[in-house]
Amino acid sequence: MTNYAYPEVLVSSDWVLAHLKDPTVRLVEVDVENNAYEQGHIPGAIAWSWQRQLSDQVRRDVIPREEFQELLGSSGISNETTVVLYGDNNNWFAAWAFWQLKIYGHADVRLLNGGRKKWLQEGRELTTDVPAYPVARYFAQKPDFSIRAFLPDVQRAVHGGEVDLVDVRSPQEFTGEILAPPGLPETAQRGGHIPTARSIPWGKAANEDGTFKTVEELKAIYSAEGIDGNRSVIAYCRIGERSSYTWFVLKYLLGYQNVVNYDGSWTEWGNLVGAPIERGLAAPVKTLVAHAS
């Protein structure tokens, strides 16, 4: 697929069709809401709920290691299984699940390029049958948080100036005009963005059919805001799912090395007492460069 840095992390809908009955492959649908899967899904796919199965149920955190192990094992996934993730909203939560599988060291995990939308638009087979797979043995690695940013990392980035912050939310969320994508419930006490952040909405990386744009197009999009792989990047959104999509783009499609996902995102920063906030449009990149020189 074009000349992506790690093309093996993407599969096409043709590939999925050819591997529907492949016992070494497990299709997993991860949507914003579970009713999408219930209304029709790719044959053989199981569903994970990002809220109940990919999140700690007591404190705000990613799924704990033991529960991750249990989830994958009960999904019939072994350490050798090729996990193919897909979902709605151009793979928002599929990318978030991808990020968590990488935190726990799963070797072979991929995204269906175009997600649920492309499969639907191509008129491919859907089913409401829910498959059951035999439980597998799964061993999760200790969590690798080198791909995750926590609050102190972001605070250092704001004050230190050596790490680029990328806000992947819509322009209206970035300016503070709205607190969340229309109709979604997780908001914050304040609207705006983290100081110094650049606004690069996640959707800019996707074509109309939901597939990822080419390397050349992606480089142009991000370099226009000063993101070219030469500095570390922290991507954030509202709750960390759209930013995991951008993390995937920067790290796996463009091959930028030091990219992390700040899953606390705006629901953490925008609710934090005393955290500095900017509102309105960001200053043009040229202005920032002039000030730095």
Partner: protein, 62 residues
């Protein structure tokens, strides 16, 4: 907004998507294409009415 509908078995699934972001804002299933689309549009309108907006100066640093 972009409205799509698909036949799945004996039902129709309709989805309303925000074109600028590719976000599916609402979906609904029903026995006919028209009724599923109507229900999806109603759900989308309800959701959009819950969007919280703030009024302030949108210029740089405003």
């Amino acid at each position: 907004m972009h409205l799509s509908s698909y036949r799945i078995g004996g039902q129709y699934l309709a989805e309303v998507e925000v074109e600028s972001s590719g976000v599916t804002i609402a979906r609904a299933t029903d026995q006919t294409r028209i009724t599923s689309e109507e229900r999806a549009i109603e759900a989308a309108v309800r959701r959009l009415s819950r969007t919280r907006r703030l009024d302030f100066d949108l210029t740089v640093g405003g």
